[in-house]
Symmetry: C2
Subunit: 192 residues, 2 copies
């Protein structure tokens, strides 16, 4: 049993290494050799556990993206637009913009324009994120919830992208502006 489980562990270490290296060097600059070295295994193992380098990168990226999308929308239930927005932005502030997670998100979006499989997979994650936001916005009586969710999702990614260049673009700066985006008519009981 040790052989199989150890194999599974190596697979996971390779996926973890892929996640790190995509962020650090960029999607198309990750090589099988650096990947194997980071995971602490021989160079040949990459093509033993995965069909190709692309397949490994894709699986790693999708896994990470899914986790990020889940976390960002985890606690939205039953919150007002104001509260929920604060939660989302607080979560977003965990990513400085040039950190591993942020880079990976953008790298993956880009790679998706050149890889059909990846594109399909990432579209599913984006749909999940939008769906979560839509149900939240609907319950919170925000007008035009579907379109608002789509724009909000795009804005969050855009803020993450710009934050890499401008570290001052943090939650406190963004929040008052985005609040206008989510204001039904402002009987949320919030001042100002």
């Amino acid at each position: 049993m040790t052989a199989a489980t150890q194999g599974e562990q190596v697979r996971k270490r390779l996926l973890q290494a892929a996640t790190e290296l995509i962020s650090e060097r960029g999607w198309s600059a990750v090589s099988t050799r650096t990947l194997a070295q980071r995971a602490g295994v021989g160079p040949g193992l990459v093509h033993y556990h995965f069909a190709s380098l692309q397949a490994l990168l894709t699986e790693a990226a999708i896994q990470t993206l899914h986790t990020i999308a889940e976390e960002a929308t985890a606690q939205l239930d039953q919150t007002t637009p104001r509260e929920g927005l604060a939660l989302i932005l607080a979560d977003l502030d965990r990513y400085p913009g040039d950190d591993p997670a942020s880079c990976l998100v953008t790298e993956t979006y880009l790679a998706a324009t050149r890889d059909q499989d990846l594109r399909r997979a990432i579209t599913q994650v984006l749909d999940l994120l939008r769906q979560r936001l839509t149900t939240w916005l609907t319950a919170a009586a925000v007008p035009d919830p579907r379109a608002t969710a789509a724009v909000l999702a795009a804005t969050l990614d855009g803020v993450m992208l710009h934050r890499a260049l401008d570290p001052d673009l943090t939650g406190p700066t963004v929040e008052p502006v985005l609040r206008r985006l989510l204001t039904p008519d402002d009987h949320t009981g919030a001042p100002r």
Copy 2:
């Protein structure tokens, strides 16, 4: 004189080829050889006209980005938030999301997280874009114009990024939502 001007033309062709190839293949997948072939010159010319491959890519990207930023904000003067937003989104609709220009923008943002020089250069372009938006929003009496401009710029880039995955995220979908972002108190004379 023909020699010098021809040299200048080759330089321009190389920059043009770089712009195309960054979009098509990604920043780190552009090689001196494909670059030279696309420009129709010998492989050695790249390092004659430019200090390095990075320098060539950087110059090409910044040039293109600057043009895009100029175009997007060219006609904003004296427009209401509603009119100006429509102009910006109409300009944005020229980019389907997976087109050369869109990809180049995102590719450059990403490459900037790993290249100091490029980062400085792209920061200048972003500052220009924000400045243009800020003066427009100030004149249009939109509250918190600086922060709003920063968020709007991020949103536009985010929409461009998401449009590569979802072609339906066009101006008409985004416009009514973003209008809320720019509404002072709605005495713009616009209904609803």
